[in-house]
Assembly symmetry: D2
């Protein structure tokens, strides 16, 4: 039984409710995960409040020691975590290792938090008056994370939240719940006081328990857009600050001057990596002018060489299975929609299986050409290994198409023309932009976040903005009485006017 | 008829709905103000969208010129604006001038916006890859402001919003709507393109029109806590970023070492200034130990000398009327509640009138002692010239009492003990703190905002955080092909793993 | 007699020494300028010290008011200043207006100084210990500025220095000393206290007086490299902080994909503007591959259309005279050297005169081709309207040539290839870089400064770094005794070990 | 033989010149250290240049990995380094451990360098023009460090210098040269490429070799004021940027309200720790009013309990020997001067020895009262375990006395009065200030540095300013041609005026 982590230790669920955890490569049930009820939520929050009273009072120096210790432990054991991820999620181990490394970068950012939680100090702002700002932690904060990055997405938030002095309750996806527990244990080893990091396993009951509790000060969420919107509204309605990251439909725009071999490589890598279960996956190649046909040929050629199989195989394949049977069927449904809407299914991954693993949740790399832009299969997020080629006549047409969609997560342009890239980055309504980089996840010291329906709220993940989200300011205006003039009340007197600075 | 300001010009309302605007010192109707219907809202938003397309594309250099021109105009005509405020709001002219000056400071902050909207640039973040961040305006943003500071509160937001390249729609209070129009005209004179600054007069219909429009990207609100909460929920539900500042109940904690003459001056200034209609007014004096009796005597003595009268009188009084008859009655009701709950009404302002202005909305300075802390009159915001003295035995008891309330806007401590002040600023759950300063409104280059029920959302007003609220980031990850190696595709190849930095 | 400005008023010199000030377009003496002796220096410094004691104690709010007032005055009277510059320097009025506008931008930066002089505040850095930083002015600082930008160069420094609370002594060039006096008077009108801004006219005696005085805390210098080096050494030897900006030899690198009409325009503008008397003037066009011949033709064609004449003429010419007869002869000497070294003098400006102004210090636009890179005329700064074309086979050869020189002030590349531009900006050893921009003087909120022999010291002008130069930090480590525990000395005890943070 | 570290490996000296290294507790020679001649200097610089070409080109991601690895190694082996320090310097091991830990904090700061070397990015600063800033390493930089902190002082500089991409040559004190070698080996283990960190052993020849080499871009020095001044002048004369930290004479000002037991503890800890061989040691207690006599009694009482002995003893003493016989005699000389000038030598440490270690360089804790402020023993830095009590009547008299000295390194005030502390921090001419903290060495994320003769140059050590010192900026002004308008040269045309922003 995969349980909670409360008070610095594993904890079974009080509820008796559970859900199965599968090995997606075999379709077999690996374990049961606890699903919290309100009693579990209450226990988690009560523990986190105690954890905050302790941890939030630790000095910067003491907190920094724990952060560096955690970084050291995580860095030493990345492979261990990657294998846990691969086993429950299905992605290949090297890919899981990739997500761990990108998460580790945020821990490294958080190690430098003293610089990032500084307030400002203004001497003699007004005559004899100093003004300065303190940045304090919020208290107990909740993180609700998706199945596709069971380590990296929580790591976008909790190192920052903890560094800033908050206590964290992490509600991971019930589909791959073990990575969170592994991380919790690591924090204990690193010296974090009990209660400062809590894992609460569960489904909507756990989520709503966090959303509705007045003790939880903030919610960080990553998932699909409809759920992100629900989280944003519901948490806002309960007076919390919220950052809710939603879905995506990421386009790469290929200009005629681009190196098509390079582009084809990148399209395949970014389209089929992690079986497309990435919010930064490329799902549409926008080919400008004459580019489409030769590029399509190069992509097909590369797809032919891709190997699909269990992520933990000794000879590592390129791509693993999808997360669940239901999700596989949903992806297949989208391909069906495209077909019905008149698209050309150039490479069809439906019905794909791997010998000896026939019950795994497989879906082969799929390439679609000629999809109408009013097809649901073009407009919605598929979240599977499905890449579409769309033809546009000009740069401008491509840009307009990208801006016409509801999502604004990631995008990329392939060209070496500085002027084209500059217009693209200025005008595209997307939060993360690659120039000849297909999956432009920003480094940890910049911030992650999309525009439009890809992010609700005003707070991006990690970077400077992560620290803004997880701290609350106090502005202090101080006028000390100079002992030399005390009692003479030079500044006294009745003046009911609004106070001026002079 | 006080109408809207749309497309860079005054505009009558399409709706025909109006509300009266009073002179609070006489109780007489001065004018009618238009109340927008949906057609007005639509016109305002359509114009603002055009305004944004123009203004949002202006370079930093061109925008900066307009900001400086506006600052120059406003600085030259502060008194003109102060008189408009005094006439509709009732506060004395010098006090109105005070709010204008504090608003002007935010314009001066905004003049320096180029420094505050810089993104970051990281060369060679990963091998041959640069990462940088652009900060762009949001688009059309709405400001909904209260009656008590018809100039200053809008000025907390719109200079920042405009400097960052947004188009602003300001919905002022219908009780004192003229200051907004005066400011709009000033922007036109300063060279702001039409549509970039819009005034929409109205009531809940106008508010809801802004909250529900998908074209409005953000809402900045200041008002009472129940409305702030409504705004926060409703705007969030429509996917906007929101900052909603609510009510307050500000305590000043007086330690035994304080200079009581100075404290009594400040209590009177901060309790009765603007007739207590300030979210940063002091409403409770927390007297520690033996301080209460001598301090009470000193406050009473000062109240006796206060002159109340029309704010525009040639010989300026200390304090003017309340904003409306209804509000006067509400304030009186709170004093009644205090009385019923057993408090001692030391000075009673109920029934106060000014000779020759008997129909004005008058309320005299009121001092209450011995109010039980479970009385509604202690716990709720009164927003009138009513000051209560509460006695506590120790610093700790005072601190705990402040922290037990639902508001967290402002507070102050009076002492010269560095240790007491340090514990106070660390532990008090309040966003703006004065040390021997009773109304600690932060200077423009720090930020304004309370904690708890005094601010919904994560975004304070003005300062660095104002620019965070009114901009949206794009992170760009760029890898140019070196012409010397083009075609050799050194970085190509199939690798579906999550992209690493190296 | 053009005298000093001391104690907020004009002051004649005690020394009796003077130098002539010419009108370069006529060659006639316009005025005499005082040359300070040590008594003048002493008076200036004594006054500045008094000025600092007053001004350095003013609050941020009060200082900011003066800054904005100065900006307003300067903005209103730019033309007046431009005409003074044109009359003494010779540049055309619109060009002089240009330098004033760029200087005004630094005033606008300085208006936002409260944000730029903030220190940091770290609560609970170590247990119960806060650490914060104050940024204070240095005291009296000296600015020594060159003839070529009598307004802009001083304006790079003094708005920043004054905003930060310093008192400034400006030693302008004795060739065009009047702009400094005009600016001094403007500061008085803006409300700056007497002594905070001083003008000391003079030559090396004045300079050495400033360098040797222990009361002068810092020196900002712009001029030729040999003098910059002298200033840097001499001021350093007297314990001051120094920034000394020197000469330049700016290349523009033109790649084959560039638009040659655009490039030719820019080469002419940047090569001949202000008769080449700009440290950011382009003096070498590096033509890659086949570019040279067509580009040369286009440049010649444009030179033919240039009009040279008195800068104050009603119909404004493109270019005025040089600053002095001696300088004209020096420029002519360099052209002679080039000729002797085998270069082709395509257009020869030697001997050029303007009808009716035969005694003016004229030098016509000069174009040189085929200059050997070991010619002194290639390697040294000419500071006149002399443009050389140098041919290189490749981008790399051009880059290496730029990096082989001793200067590193400005440079530009003309191309639309993002990869070429990225390598250029990464590898060129130059401080200010244009991409399709020939004179890349950074905007005021970035910083100005070259590399190598173009800047001695570590401090660039204006921007964030300007405020670093003109402020000095204090770091405060504070541990207050909590009154609740006083006398119990919980933190006492003997421990001679180095203090740790915990 | 303690040799150099060049090209990532130990290297014997070419010179044959050596100096002895002593064990100060026994007075016995422990080893010989190489003294570089010019050939060694040249080898070191050549290797460092190669090291820079490699390391300076590494991406941020790769550099960050090395920094974290170094931090991990150092953190694991602090005791090993502390014992090396204690053996050569004489300080007790726990004190040596203290300096290592404070040095480690700067490594931790440097691990967060990506945030600290960001440039700024301004989109559309002028129409269609972006401006951004790159921060690049300087190249080869030299660090010249003193005997008293053989690990901490180098660690103030080299983690920052290396993180920023520079190659470092460290010239440690020849009195305790082994810590530097140990650190060099650790960098190799951490993966730093050969040549990026070099140790050059030596005396003035080595120093001058670094100062005179054009390849060395910057010098960071800590030592006595006369040498600091020499370094500053000489390095400046060779065109380098320099930070040269000199001597100190740190006062603690004790107000009548202070807790005298606490003060006495702190005076003893800060006066005698490391035998007073710290630039932040307290050497003068300024007792205000009646404080002096009781405080003197409490200090004497504590001195009586101090144990002096070999720093490596199993039962650790409080204080070890001085660094050398010569230094011991110099300290004794100062006590003699005080005596002659009429001071009362309350506790006399001259002639002190430790049984069984009679040849050690011992000096007992010394307390002086009544020293005239014109005595050399008051005015100069003694750098030994000698504490003086000076009596002043008022706060102001104490403040004036501190400000009358030539040094401005550190100081402290002991009081709980917020007003006194505020005036002290505002007006004292000292760079590092403690409020109830006797040795206010700023935490790593603020900066270290004194004022006046305690620091030459404008650059403090570590913190944000450390990164300013060790990077050089490039400002890029970029205008790409939009492909849609190419060839139409919209921005072309002849205009020789100074370029404007619009």
């Amino acid at each position: 039984m995969v349980g909670h982590w409360i008070d610095g230790a594993p904890r079974a669920s009080a509820s008796g409710r559970t859900a199965p955890v599968f090995d997606p490569a075999t379709g077999r049930r690996r374990a049961e995960v606890a699903l919290a009820d309100q009693a579990d939520v209450d226990a988690a929050i009560a523990s986190a409040q105690r954890g905050f009273r302790e941890w939030g009072g630790w000095s910067i120096a003491k907190r920094q020691r724990v952060l560096f210790a955690f970084r050291e432990l995580l860095n030493a054991r990345t492979r261990e975590l990657a294998e846990i991820i691969s086993g429950e999620h299905g992605k290949v181990v090297s890919d899981a290792l990739g997500e761990v490394m990108r998460g580790l970068e945020v821990v490294e950012l958080a190690c430098g938090f003293p610089q990032l939680v500084k307030g400002g100090f203004s001497e003699n702002a007004s005559t004899d008056i100093d003004v300065y700002t303190l940045r304090q932690p919020l208290g107990v904060v909740g993180i609700i994370s998706p199945f596709n990055f069971p380590a990296m997405v929580p790591l976008w938030f909790f190192p920052v939240a903890l560094a800033a002095g908050n206590a964290v309750i992490l509600k991971p996806s019930e589909k791959d719940p073990s990575a969170a527990l592994w991380l919790a244990r690591l924090w204990s080893e690193a010296g974090l006081p009990d209660g400062a990091f809590t894992v609460l396993q569960g489904d909507k009951q756990a989520v709503d328990g966090l959303l509705h509790s007045p003790a939880v000060q903030a919610i960080s969420f990553v998932g699909s857009t409809p759920i992100a919107q629900y989280i944003y509204e519901e948490a806002s309605r309960h007076g919390k600050r919220v950052q809710a990251l939603g879905g995506a439909k990421n386009h790469m725009l290929v200009l005629p001057d681009a190196d098509l071999d390079l582009v084809a490589d990148q399209a395949v890598n970014a389209g089929y990596g992690a079986a497309g279960e990435r919010c930064m996956a490329v799902s549409v190649v926008l080919a400008v002018g004459e580019v489409a046909d030769p590029l399509r040929a190069k992509i097909v050629e590369r797809i032919d060489r891709l190997r699909v199989g269990p992520g933990t195989d000794a000879v590592e394949p390129d791509m693993g299975p999808l997360i669940s049977a239901a999700h596989r069927d949903k992806v297949a449904g989208y391909v069906g929609v495209a077909e019905q809407d008149g698209a050309d299914i150039v490479v069809d991954g439906r019905g794909f299986t791997v010998d000896g693993h026939e019950d795994g949740f497989w879906f082969g790399p799929t390439l679609i050409d000629g999809i109408p832009t009013d097809s649901r299969a073009y407009q919605e997020e598929i979240f599977g290994p499905v890449l579409s080629i769309v033809r546009v006549a000009t740069f401008q047409e491509g840009l307009d198409l990208i801006n016409s969609g509801r999502f604004g997560n990631g995008t990329a342009i392939f060209t070496n023309d500085g002027g084209a890239a500059r217009r693209f980055q200025s005008e595209v309504q997307v939060g993360m932009i690659g120039i000849n980089v297909p999956i432009p996840v920003p480094v940890a010291y910049h911030s992650f976040g999309g525009w439009k329906a890809s992010l609700f709220g005003d707070a991006k993940a990690y970077g400077v903005h992560g620290f803004d989200f997880f701290t609350r300011e106090k502005a202090v205006t101080a006028r000390w009485v100079d002992p030399a003039t005390r009692g003479r009340s030079a500044r006294g007197g009745i003046d009911l006017g609004f106070p001026q600075n002079d």
